[in-house]
């Protein structure tokens, strides 16, 4: 806006789809460039690092299936976060909600009277419910008492982590695990089918894809979704039109927490088949799902793509560790850089820069 600059900055009140996509891609590119400095600092040629990353994610059938497997929990939790973010409810607690799903699944598989043939539907049902109830605590605290949602949802994660640790080291510690802090193995009826010998538990994948579609319809084509959009964009106009902020907050967090809970069920029933250390169960999927939802720009259908993308970073990151000997935190560095550039790029969507004609 200043005359001594060679360009002019002006507001762009409603960025078009192309602007959003272009800016997002530029943010990703910037994150990759920034990450190459990290590779370089480790003495690795960034180009060979990216080649390894790409091969690790897409290089063959096994790699591709591995990418999809990582994308599954991100898809479920990410779709759930989209609906919360749409209502301006900042749910940072998908990680904890996901862990509650694993606890519920373990209870169904090992301690409930549910007969084996019904275990899979029961696990998803109770997993959803457990994640939902966990998420309702911050929903009620925020909508009734005005307590900051970021802080409560985040803190609930640590409670969930410690709850799982308590269970696997205490009451639920398995008898046949040679003293390891694991629960007993799930019975066969509580293990999800996978594609071939891979770890892709296809049922969870299908649930995620269907949920993305349903939530898209819910947000854009129904009256509760309309209330979410209005209250998320201008709460006082919503109140003015007679909408209930409390009711909507509780609804979005119910769905959001439930989706994360089902992601947890998928991980434990499809991959691990036992309750174990939370960091092994989740790999931070609940946190990465925040970036997944953000990159999707709060569009549930776009989450299918962004979850796949971050699935690729997880599996590519695995390959980096193995083939180049880089530390395993490299995936976290990647995720952090991407989120950093995405949030930084927001402003470029809402403002445009034009070069001055001389």
């Amino acid at each position: 806006m200043k005359e001594y600059l060679p360009f002019e900055i002006s507001e762009r009140p409603n960025p078009s789809g192309w602007v959003i996509i272009t800016v997002s891609l530029l943010a990703l590119l910037s994150a990759f460039i920034a990450a190459s400095f990290v590779f370089w600092a480790y003495g690795t040629n960034p180009i060979s690092a990216y080649t390894a990353l790409f091969d690790g994610a897409f290089g063959g059938v096994y790699e591709l299936l591995e990418t999809i497997r990582r994308a599954i929990p991100l898809l479920l939790a990410g779709v759930g976060l989209v609906i919360a973010f749409k209502a301006q409810f900042w749910n940072i607690g998908a990680e904890g909600q996901l862990l509650l799903g694993t606890i519920a699944a373990t209870w169904v598989a090992l301690f409930s009277p549910v007969p084996e043939p019904l275990m899979v539907p029961a696990m998803f049902f109770f997993g959803f419910l457990a994640g939902s109830l966990w998420a309702l605590v911050p929903a009620v605290l925020k909508s009734k008492l005005g307590i900051n949602d970021v802080i409560t949802t985040l803190m609930m994660n640590y409670i969930a982590i410690n709850l799982v640790l308590f269970l696997v080291q205490g009451p639920w510690k398995g008898e046949k695990q040679w003293g390891f802090p694991y629960s007993d193995n799930f019975p066969d009826g509580a293990q999800l089918g996978t594609i071939g010998s891979s770890n892709v538990h296809w049922l969870t994948l299908v649930i995620g894809l269907v949920a993305a579609l349903l939530i898209y319809i819910l947000i854009n084509r129904t009256t509760p979704g309309y209330e979410i959009r209005v209250l998320g964009s201008n709460p006082s106009a919503g109140r003015f039109a007679g909408m209930s902020y409390v009711k909507t907050s509780i609804m979005v967090m119910f769905i959001s927490g439930g989706m994360a809970g089902m992601a947890g069920v998928g991980e434990i029933a499809g991959v691990h088949h036992m309750l174990r250390n939370p960091s092994e169960l989740s790999l931070g999927y609940g946190y990465t799902a925040i970036i997944v939802a953000w990159l999707a720009r709060k569009n549930p259908l776009a989450v299918i793509l962004t979850a796949f993308f971050f699935g690729a970073i997880f599996s590519g990151g695995d390959a980096l560790k193995v083939s180049l000997g880089l530390p395993f935190q490299i995936t976290d560095v990647f995720n952090g850089l991407i989120l950093f550039f995405l949030i930084g790029s927001e402003i470029l969507m809402n403002y445009k820069i034009e070069w001055r004609r001389s």
Binding site: M1, P13, N14, R221, T223, Y226, V230, N234, F240, G242
Partner: protein
């Protein structure tokens, strides 16, 4: 004043363009040192834009500003402050959780490291005494009245050494008494050699306070004249570009049964102070009841209680014969009560959503827009298209986000939406505030049309001309109390003005 001195400010062919509009088009005029210079014009005439250019908030596209004869580039507000220019914005820029002193300290660089408040307070008290600007320096901003906040803003500008003070619509938030006080301060400042630029659209104020007046219309300077050699009639003609018709065509009032009955209504504002005190009145079919008063005298709280957004502590609200005291907004809206809110951007629309979504804000749960939980956007679109056409909303299409529309078009959309719900009662808060003449006239005619169709209308407005030309009866609020209620043809503007300033009708 006749001697030829160099003017303190000279605008030479200033042009400021925005994407869709030329806000200032070759603006040229001069301001003399030690005078009050009014900038008169309707909303959207380009007054504020020009002053933001002078204060360095906007950069002009072309033209030159001369300060004391010297060509000056004002690239930022910091530069403006350095040059001795201060601005008091229409919407105060104060941090409400901080004290007056802390607000003045913001951005200061030459304060001592130890006990800076002491130093500022001393100078503040000295300045306040000199110009009659008394404000409690240690009070938090949120505790202050509008007048006190304004004084704090003026003090901040003076503290930073302002020689030229720009005031943007300073009286719009003041009571008549506070306005009087502000004018005394301005006179004091001019006597002390300072220059004041006073943005307004109120003719009385121009005549009362200023030495010179520049009239702007559609971004152009129409004329600059000495106030002593002009009159209100001439100025209003220059400002509007035509003779102003203060009377709208209207049929005589056909009063039907009572639609809204309010009895002994009392409520508190957000700070826990009584905002509406023991108010009783009725509005009946086919009548417009105007509520006059300076902003902040309980109007907002009144409209909020009537629409269910605020609780009443005592009293009764009866609509269509049903007791709806403290009912929910939805319950009240279902009783066919339409509401044109005070803050149309914050309450009336959802800016990021499309016109389709905004058109059904009140009716999205009803047929034909929804069946069960599903919305039928085909029906919604048809409805929105009709609304846009019928109420003359200028928009590229119904998928346009609402925040791309101008204020007048947003208001037409809101009014259209509310009116189309076939209401029995319309509560309209400041329906034409900030609109251009054309849109305002359309909105007023719409309200009159509703009245003729037998709708009860409660019109809350600060604009006395609007109140007197539209209302059948006029109620005046002062500090939440009803000062009096007069029939349209029995009211004089003077009487209403006295009541607005706090004199009850019986004492007139």
């Amino acid at each position: 004043m006749n001697q030829k001195t160099t003017p303190i400010i000279r605008f030479d062919s200033i042009v400021k363009r925005f994407p869709d509009v030329v806000a200032n088009d070759e603006v040229s005029f001069s301001v003399e040192e030690g005078t009050v210079h009014s900038l008169l014009g309707e909303n959207g005439a380009g007054k504020t834009t020009l002053m933001k250019v002078l204060y360095g908030l906007y950069q002009k596209n072309s033209g030159t500003i001369y300060l004391k004869g010297e060509k000056t580039d004002i690239v930022s507000p910091m530069k403006a402050i350095e040059l001795g220019i201060g601005m008091v914005h229409q919407h105060f820029k104060l941090v409400s959780n901080h004290t007056v002193i802390e607000n003045i300290a913001l951005g200061l660089t030459d304060v001592s490291m130890t006990r800076p408040t002491r130093q500022i307070e001393r100078k503040l008290i000295e300045l306040a005494g000199k110009y009659g600007l008394d404000v409690e320096p240690r009070a938090k901003i949120w505790q202050l009245s509008a007048g006190e906040k304004q004084r704090a803003e003026i003090l901040r500008a003076l503290y930073r050494g302002a020689e030229i003070l720009i005031l943007d619509e300073p009286t719009s938030v003041l009571t008549p008494g506070e306005t009087e006080r502000l004018f005394n301060v301005l006179e004091e400042m001019v006597t002390g050699g300072k220059t004041v630029i006073f943005i307004t659209h109120k003719l009385d104020e121009v005549m009362k306070i200023s030495d010179q007046v520049t009239v702007l219309r559609e971004g152009r300077v129409i004329d600059t004249l000495a106030t002593a050699s002009t009159n209100k009639r001439e100025l209003s003609k220059k400002m509007v570009g035509r003779e102003v018709l203060f009377d709208l065509e209207r049929d005589p009032c056909n009063r039907g049964e009572d639609v809204l009955e309010v009895e002994g209504l009392t409520t508190y504002n957000d700070k826990g102070v009584i905002a509406v005190n023991d108010l009783s009145f009725t509005v009946c079919e086919g009548e417009i009841l105007g509520v006059a008063g300076v902003a902040g005298n309980g109007q907002r709280e009144l409209s909020e209680v009537l629409t269910g957004l605020r609780g009443a502590t005592s009293g009764k609200v009866v609509i269509n014969g049903k007791d709806l005291t403290n009912a929910t907004p939805r319950r009240i809206a279902d009783e066919r009560v339409a509401h044109v809110p005070e803050d149309r951007i914050k309450q009336g629309i959802v800016g990021e959503l499309t016109l389709n979504d905004n058109a059904i804000l009140k009716s999205y749960r009803k047929r034909p827009f929804s069946r069960g939980i599903f919305l039928d956007y085909k029906k919604v679109r048809e409805w929105t298209e009709n609304l846009i056409e019928e109420f003359n909303v200028k928009a590229p299409g119904t998928d346009t986000p609402a925040n791309l529309l101008s204020g007048g078009n947003i208001q037409k959309l809101i009014l259209g939406r509310e009116v189309s719900s076939n209401p029995r009662l319309i509560i309209a808060s400041h329906p034409t505030y900030g609109l251009d003449v054309g849109s305002a006239e359309q909105i007023r005619n719409l309200l009159l049309k509703q009245r003729e169709d037998g709708v009860a209308v409660l019109l809350i407005s600060e604009n006395l001309t609007e109140i007197t030309s539209l209302s059948d009866r006029i109620a005046v609020l002062f500090e939440g109390n009803l000062m009096g209620m007069v029939e349209r043809d029995q009211a004089t503007r003077e009487e209403i003005g006295m009541m607005m300033a706090g004199t009850p009708l019986e004492q007139l």
